[in-house]
């Protein structure tokens, strides 16, 4: 029990502009279930993708059974007995369970004995309590059953170490209980399990030990029964607050944005917002906390006109704008800083100047009824570049060559520098500082505070609780398509918010 089957030492992995893993250490003991806990973007999946051979680390060591190994591909990982169940299943829907399981492990044989394989898979499934018909076609299976097929793929390859990336997100409560039972079963039969999650409940339900990652660093490894939810929430979210901002007293007035009982579907027709109601006043900042995927994107799109609501009302300045096109929202002073800066917020191959007039190109003085006025546009762009301190060689370069921070400034400059809507705007910002460096982050936060003091209404979404606490006047917590908590920031309690985000409690 005490031997380390896997050791990851001083792992460093950087992506352009981000350090995803910053000297992370992680070890897995034989026969344990080890939870890897952290917020989105903390580097959990990156670390495990390195162990499974999908990414190559920049530096660091991996030891398996005490021996240093090189893992260059998932094939290498499987040879060493390490397998992974991804968040998105990698199955061929038209094929049967058996065909999916044996795919890639047929060896050099030309003829495949499907019947024999099906029998083997059937007995494996029975052995580990994974109830699934080996001859069923995958497209007919539920998400829970598909996950069992993924697990069978690993068991069939005789894997000893199994990595699960957020395995419960796609499951119903019933399926989740079954999964946790079979994880215990596998453990008792000698498998070791790494369980990636951001849900505190699950850590306590299933794990023996837990390692917490925060912003690419490992902050602690604890024996689960010796720790508490409060302690883990603190470790996961991280104290103390890094940025302290001087905030003027709040002076709200008038209803800027009012949302009444909206229900919204995603692309696949799932209900993502369930009767959400709230209001935002001019002169205040509302921060929306929550783990990504709990309806934030749908909410932001619904209040900017990009997504239709199936029922409910959206009012801007007490004017009913429900289901009007995005242009109408913009004309009424709703400014939107979207999640993807490149590809939504800006068109990559268009110039800085062109991106700065993306929403105002069709009005005076940038154009008359037919023609664009390039001179005026360039002058306007140059002024914005100066005002917002955008670093770019010229306003004619394509925005795809700008850094993340400067790209975000282009979006901010366009939205906040646009002459629309009269006094007082409604600013909707999705993850406005995600992926930005310290300087750019501070710039964006100060700008949002300044806009608030100037009497604009701001609602922003963030995964960074420090950011939410230091900027917001009020805090909403979203969980599974609902606002489960509304807290005044001076009464806010970071532990309580963390628990609400994890769906543990409602206010």
């Amino acid at each position: 029990m005490e031997t380390n089957i896997v050791e990851m030492i001083d792992i460093v992995k950087t992506f352009p502009g981000v350090v995803a893993n910053d000297h992370v250490n992680f070890s897995l003991k034989a026969g344990e279930i080890h939870a890897l806990l952290g917020e989105n973007g903390a580097g959990k999946t990156t670390l495990m993708n390195i162990l499974y051979g999908i990414y190559r680390m920049d530096s660091g060591k991996i030891k398996v059974d005490g021996k240093e190994v090189q893992i260059r591909s998932p094939r290498d990982a499987i040879k060493l007995g390490i397998g992974m169940v991804h968040q998105n299943f990698k199955l061929i829907p038209a094929h049967t369970v058996t065909e999916n399981v044996i795919l890639g492990s047929e060896g050099n044989r030309f003829i495949i004995d499907v019947e024999k394989a099906a029998k083997e898979i059937g007995s494996l499934a029975a052995n580990f309590g994974l109830n699934v018909d080996p001859l069923a076609e995958v497209w007919k299976l539920s998400m829970g059953e598909r996950q069992r097929v993924e697990i069978l793929k690993l068991l069939y390859r005789n894997v000893r170490v199994m990595i699960f990336d957020e395995p419960t997100t796609v499951l119903t409560p019933q399926e989740k209980r079954e999964l946790l039972l079979s994880l215990r079963e596998m453990c008792s039969k000698g498998k070791s399990i790494i369980f990636i999650t951001h849900k505190l409940d699950e850590v306590f339900e299933i794990s023996d030990r837990v390692t917490v990652l925060r912003r690419g660093k490992n902050v602690a490894t604890k024996v689960t029964r010796e720790t508490s939810k409060v302690e883990l929430a603190n470790l996961m979210i991280g104290r103390p607050v890094i940025f302290e901002y001087v905030k003027n007293p709040i002076n709200p007035s008038g209803a800027a944005l009012k949302v009444e009982n909206i229900r919204v579907l995603d692309e696949d027709g799932n209900l993502k917002l369930k009767d959400v109601s709230f209001n935002v006043r001019f002169g205040e900042i509302v921060g929306v906390a929550g783990v990504a995927g709990n309806g934030q994107r749908e909410l932001a799109e619904a209040i900017t006109g990009l997504r239709k609501v199936c029922s409910g009302k959206v009012y801007v300045r007490e004017k009913d704008l429900t289901n009007l096109p995005p242009k109408k929202f913009f004309e009424n002073g709703v400014l939107f800083i979207p999640e993807e800066r490149l590809g939504v917020g800006t068109a990559p191959n268009l110039s800085v100047a062109e991106n700065l007039i993306l929403k105002t190109y069709d009005r005076e003085p940038f154009s008359n009824s037919i023609l664009l006025n390039h001179k005026v546009i360039e002058k306007f762009a140059e002024n914005l570049v100066k005002d917002f301190e955008i670093l770019c060689p010229s306003v004619k370069v394509p925005v795809k060559f700008l850094s993340g921070g400067n790209l975000q400034k282009v979006v901010l400059a366009r939205e906040l520098g646009s002459p629309v809507g009269g006094d007082g705007h409604v600013i909707v910002a999705m993850y406005p500082t995600r992926g930005l460096d310290v300087g750019a982050t501070e710039y964006v936060r100060k700008l949002l505070l300044k806009m608030r003091d100037e009497g604009n209404a701001i609602i922003f979404f963030s995964e960074d609780l420090d950011e939410i606490l230091s900027l917001s006047d009020r805090i909403f917590v979203m969980f599974e398509g609902k606002i489960v908590g509304e807290i005044l920031s001076h009464e806010a309690d970071i532990e309580k918010i963390g628990l609400m985000m994890a769906g543990v409690m409602a206010s």
Binding site: L306, P325, P326, K327, F330, F336, P338, E340, G343, V344, G345, T346, A347, P348, N349, L350, E354, L358, K359, Y361, D362, S367, I370, L371, L372, H374, F401
Partner: protein
Amino acid sequence: MYKIQFFPREKISAIKSFAISLASILLAFLVSGIIFVLTDVDPILAYYNLFRSFTNLSLLSESVVRAIPIMLVALGLALAYKANFISVGGEGQIYFGGIIATSLVLWNIQNNIVPEPLFMPITLIVVFLCSSIWGIIPALLKAKFEVNEVLTTLMMNYIAQIISNYLVIGPWKDPKGYGFPHSPAFPQYARFPLIPNTTINSSIYIGLFAALIIYFILSKTKFGFEVKVVGDSYPTAKYAGISYTKVVCTVMAISAGLSGLAGLSILGGVIGRLRPDFSPGYGYTGIIVAWLCNLNPIIIIFGSIFFGGLLVGGEVLQSSMGLSVGVTDVFQALMLIFTLSGEFFKRYRIVWRR
């Protein structure tokens, strides 16, 4: 083991870019040269004949005649491609334009309503508008039902061509044509006059004018800006409140309208009547020209003349060396393949890794 990896380039120097283009063209010559050698043809002589149209004035004038429909199609396609609408429907639009033009001519021969000097101007407008409607069909299907535009435009090519061929052997067959499958001849007022001392007909002016218009739309107008945003990033266009339906429908209306005029320019400028299979694939050559000219309307003028010259050169090859016209197709295809591959190397740099 070495591994090849590709990284996007941030910038490329003008010299490097030119060198890559030159290398691509030379490779096309080299590979088709190998094909010539394999078929027992002297490649130097073959190239000399293929490019003779650019040294001989009467052949050059013939090349320009061929260039007119190519130019009109390529200009329209370039506009559609700028909006990332991958139309391959030029060929069908040529036939559709030809059908509309012929129907107008036959109708006026019978009823004699439109005065002769007004006939061509009115025909230009009617052919353009009718072809536009034909072109809006795939745009609407794409915008409203997400139907793949490559498939719809390609299928519509067959529809138009087959209808055109049916009309020629059926209802529109010339009763005085000794059984030949063609329509009655267009009267003089329905023909484009020749530019004095050349074989070039005046529909060249339509092509040149169209090039200027497309250039103007793309670089100076609000609509051109919308086209660029839609073409570069659909989600950004949606976010900015630009209507995708409006943009692709307008783009395809102009694109198909120009290709329809290409059909009119062939019938009213060269053949003088409707014949079966009257376009030798100008609609497809237009695709090649549009991409090779980097979707730039001004460069397309010259690219069309170059490809017109290749077509003429192919015929010279056929008559002087007894080679099949297919040789020109092979050469054209190799040019396209190598130039497009060259584009890849302009955008990515290559790194060898152990």
